[in-house]
Amino acid sequence: MEVIGKKVRLPSPAASRIVEADDRFVVELERFQGPLDLLLHLIRSQDIDIFDIPIGDITEQFIKAIEGVEDSVSLERAGEFLEMAATLVRIKAQMLLPRRDDLLEDQDPRSELVRRLLEYEFFREMAHALSAAEAERALHRPKGYVEPRPSPDMGELPLQLSLEEFVAAAISLPAPPERKPHRAPVRPVTVDEKIDLWFRVLKEKTRVPFEWFMRRWKTRIHAVMSFLAALELAKRGKVRLNQERHFGTLWVNRGESDEDS
């Protein structure tokens, strides 16, 4: 007998690259299923060793790719991308920090992310295999017209159900499913906005602890953007960052030439 139910085959590795390595900084976010998909694209399209991700470069590329994310996708999806940006920045910061002696040598801050990426990649490949199986199955059509037949009168079928069974079913009804917790919409925030804020604050004070910024906004994305803004300003020489001791307060100091932006 001929069989549809052949084993599903995996796509060839080449076919599994969803997007070619076109200009990798111009990515249309809608093409990606989410932050993991985008991240995998950046890694695979540049032949980067997934077990040794250059987190600085990738973070920069990722943030560049999601610039203006709030305009191109829904707020909920934007939040998903921004959350990943926050994770990347955190990993990057952890890699920069000096290793504490009490931490194990193999505690690579990237390992959890790598595990998630490989796991996601597995299911992404599976989705490809399923898609091929779906297309093959769709070549077969069932009988289009099935003669209507008088349906047996259900009302006349004897019903086997005791009151005990009925009450038992009522008792076993679980409590209603959990409601999705309401997520406060994330107000989109940009690095530029934070840069302006640093300038304004540093007009009045010569130096500000980074935590002072963190305290004012509870959401992670504000912290991330503030941090990125501080890094950007340090790069441009507008501010100096210093830390008096490891794991101590990170100070943002007014730079020497801070006349304008």
């Binding site: 009988k143 289009g144 037949r149 008088p150 079928l157 009151l163 079913a169 009522a170 008792i171 209603p176």
Partner: protein, 176 residues
Amino acid sequence: MNPTRIVEAILLASETPLAPKEIARASTDLSTKDVEDAISELAREYEADDRAFQIYPLGDGYQILTRPEYAPYLERFDSITRTNKLSRAALETLAIIAYRQPVGRLQIEELRGVSAAGVLRNLQERGLIDIVGRAEGLGRPLLYGTNEKFLDHFGLRSLEDLPQPQELQIALRAEE
């Protein structure tokens, strides 16, 4: 490709009877005459092979249908495959309706976390529930309740005789 086989595939897969002229559109190599010949050829084959189906003319089209002598088997098959027992989904839905009536579809779906449309139809066909009204508000959704047949089945005189065990979740308990 053999035109007779193309016609066979189309006749099987079509939801409506198709006229030879329409079938001929499947391929530029196919004339209406070819299709008519193919249909005659298929009818002869099905007859000679004693198939359980045949090609029947309907309006100006044709369709593959089972032969009438198999109708009793189909009927028996239908009535046996429908069971005398309620599915788990139907049973739970019936419980929600019995304890919360009058109740709308959305409330039932919220309590069970799944779509209730099919189950509600099934319970109505079995005659255990009725539409008892409409709610206020958007779209004025239908409200369901149990009926006489439901009470009769369990030998209850009224809904007040429905047991109210302690273990019933709050949403189903009678309001004090």
